[in-house]
Amino acid sequence: MAKSTVTLETPPELVRPPLVNNDRSIHWVTQNVSDIVESRTPKWWFLSICITSPIALMGLVCIIYQISNGVGVWGENHPNGWAWDITNFVFWIGIGHAGTLISAVLFLTRQKWRTSINRAAEAMTLFAVVCAGIFPAIHVGRVWYAWFLAPVPNTNAIWPNFRSPLLWDVFAVSTYFSVSVLFWYVGLIPDLATLRDRAKSKLARMLYGIGALGWRGGNRQWRHYEMAYLLLAGLSTPLVLSVHSIVSFDFATSIMPGWHTTIFPPYFVAGAIFGGFAMVLTIMLPASRIFPQLGDMITREHVDKMAKIILLTGSIVGYAYLMELFVAWYSGNKFEGFTFFTARANVDGKGWYQWSYWIMMFCNVISPQIFWFKSMRRNYIVVFIVSQFVNVGMWFERFTIIVTSLAQDFLPSSWGKYSPSTTEILTFVGTFGIFLTLFLLFMRFLPMIAISEVKGVTPEADPHHHHPKH
C-alpha cells in the first residue's frame, strides 16, 4: 500500500483589525482629541445649544408647573396611575445601561475596542440617569414629601418599608448614579491632566488642574489607579444588572397581568442594553462625522460591533416577547391571555392599544434583523436609521407594558382609557433638551474620547514594540 503523504499547510495568520486606523502615533491621539476642546467653539455648536437649551428650559417650566399644580396636570387617571411618567423613567434609565455595559462589562471581558467610545457612553449614562431621575421624583405629586423615601423615620416614627420595590428603586438608582459618576471621573483624571498640561490660558490650566488632582502619570500611581478602575468595573457589572432588575421588580412584584412574570429581570436588562446601544450610536455616528479626526478612532469596526450587540439583544428581547405570548397561552390564565392577546396584540378587536404593541414589535424585533448583513452593519445611514427605530421601539415597549396592563385589567367595569396631556408631552420633550444640552456641554469642555486608554491600544503602547514613529 502506497504511503500517502499529507502536507499540512500552515494556515494564514489571522490579523486583528487595528483599533486605531492609519497607524497613528500616540501624540496624534493627544493632539486630535484635545483639539476638539481647545479649538474655537464651532458655529454648529452654538446653533445646537440655542435649540436644545430652550427645549430643556421648557421641560423645567413644565416640571415647575406640575409641581405647583399637582399630578392632575398630567393625563394619569384611574386606572392608569402610571403612564408616561414611568415609561419615561424606564426609557431613560435603560439608555444609561449601555454606557455602563461598555465601560464595565466590556472592560472585564477585555474588549479593547471599547476605549474609543466608553467616555462618551459613560457621559450619556450620567445624563440619561439625570433625565430618568426627574420622573419618579415628580410623579409622587407632593415632592416635598420625597424625603419619606430616605431611610429615616418620619414624624410618626414610621420607617420606610424596606421590602417595597419602590424603595429598592431609590437605593438602586441613587447608587447607580453615584458609582457611574465615580467611574467616569476616575477615567477622566489622566485626560484632565493632559488638558492641564496643554492649556494655554491660566484659567483653563487651573480648572483642568483642579480636576486632574495633580495627576503625574507615575507608574506607582498607575498601579493603584488600574486596580481601582478594575474594581469599579467589577462593581459596576453586577450593579448595572441589579438596577434594571430592580426597575423590573416595580412591575414584576405586583399582581397585574402582563407584569407579574419571572421573565422580567433578564428581559428588561437585555432591553436596556439594546436601547442604550441605539442611543450611543445616535450620538456617536453624528459626532464621528462632525469631527472627522475621530474617524480613525471610532471606525466602521466599532459601528459593526455595536450593531452586532443590537442584533443580539434585540433578538433576546424578541424571544422574551414571544415567550410572554407563549406563556400567556400555555398557562391557561385567562387574565394573562386577555392582556397579551386582546389588550396588546388585539387579535379579537377589543384591545385599545394594539398600535403601540405592533410599533414595539416592528421596531425592536424586525428592524434590527437587517444587521445579519455585514454591509448593513457597516453602512452608517442604515445603522443610524435602525437606531432611531430602536429608540422609538423601546419607548413604546415601556408604554405598552404599563398602559395596556392598567387600562384593561381584571374587571371591565374598572377599565379606562389614557391619553397624555400637553404638559406631560412637553415634559418628556424637555428631557431630550436637558440630555442634549448636557451632552453638548460635555463635548465642548471635556475630552470625549478616553485619551490615555486609546493610547494604550495603539501599537506603540506595546512594550515589545521597538520602532516608534516619532
Binding site: 421590602r163 417595597s164 502619570g217 493603584h224 453586577p238 490615555s452 512594550p463
Partner: protein, 181 residues
C-alpha cells in the same frame, strides 16, 4: 529655575515603552528604591519591571464592601424587626424574610465599595496634590502626551548627581535633567 534650590532628582526621557521597560529593569536591579516612571498610559508589565507587587487597594475595598454589607443589614433589619415592625401586605417580619431585603443590602455594599475604591486610590497616590517637584521639569508636560520618562529621587541612598546621571545615559536615557524642588 534657581540652582540654589534643593535638588529633587534626575529625570530622563526614553524612546519607547520597550526602552523604558528595559531601563526600569536595570534600575530595579541596581537597587534604587525612590524612583518612578511616568507614562501617558499604564504599561503592561511595568509593575514587574519596577519590582512592585500587587496593589493593596483590593484588600481595603474588601473591608469597605464588608462595612457596606453590615450597614445594609443593620439599616433594613433594625427598624423593621425591632424599632417599628409594621405589617405590610400581611407579610411577617422575621429573619426568614431577609431575601426581600437583599436589594438594599446589595446596593449599599456596592456603594460603599466604590467610594472606598476611589478614596483609597487617591490616598495611596497621595492625591489631590496640586504641586509636585516634577512639575518643575520643563519636559514634564510630555508625561501626559507621548513621553516615556523616568525620575530618580535625590533622597535615594544610592543617588549621586554625577554617577546616576551617567547610569541613566548608559541605559538609554535622553535629555537627562536635574530637577529642583
Amino acid at each position: 529655575m534657581t540652582h540654589s534650590r534643593k535638588v529633587y532628582g534626575l529625570g530622563a526621557e526614553f524612546e519607547s515603552a520597550a526602552a523604558l521597560m528595559a531601563a526600569a529593569e536595570k534600575i530595579r536591579d541596581t537597587g534604587f528604591s525612590h524612583w518612578d516612571v511616568h507614562t501617558p498610559f499604564p504599561i503592561h508589565g511595568m509593575d514587574k519591571a519596577m519590582g512592585l507587587g500587587k496593589s493593596k487597594l483590593s484588600a481595603v475595598v474588601f473591608v469597605g464592601g464588608l462595612m457596606g454589607l453590615l450597614t445594609g443589614v443593620g439599616l433594613v433589619t433594625i427598624p423593621s424587626l425591632y424599632i417599628y415592625p409594621m405589617i405590610v401586605h400581611g407579610k411577617p417580619y422575621t429573619w426568614a424574610t431577609l431575601p426581600a431585603f437583599f436589594p438594599i443590602i446589595f446596593e449599599l455594599t456596592v456603594l460603599f465599595s466604590a467610594f472606598t475604591a476611589v478614596a483609597t486610590m487617591l490616598a495611596l497616590n497621595q492625591l489631590p496634590r496640586f504641586h509636585h517637584p516634577v512639575f518643575n521639569w520643563d519636559r514634564f508636560t510630555k508625561f501626559t502626551d507621548d513621553g516615556f520618562m523616568m525620575v530618580i529621587e535625590a533622597k535615594d541612598a544610592k543617588f549621586s548627581e554625577s554617577r546616576t546621571k551617567a547610569l541613566l545615559e548608559e541605559i538609554g536615557g535622553k535629555n537627562v535633567t536635574l530637577i529642583h524642588d
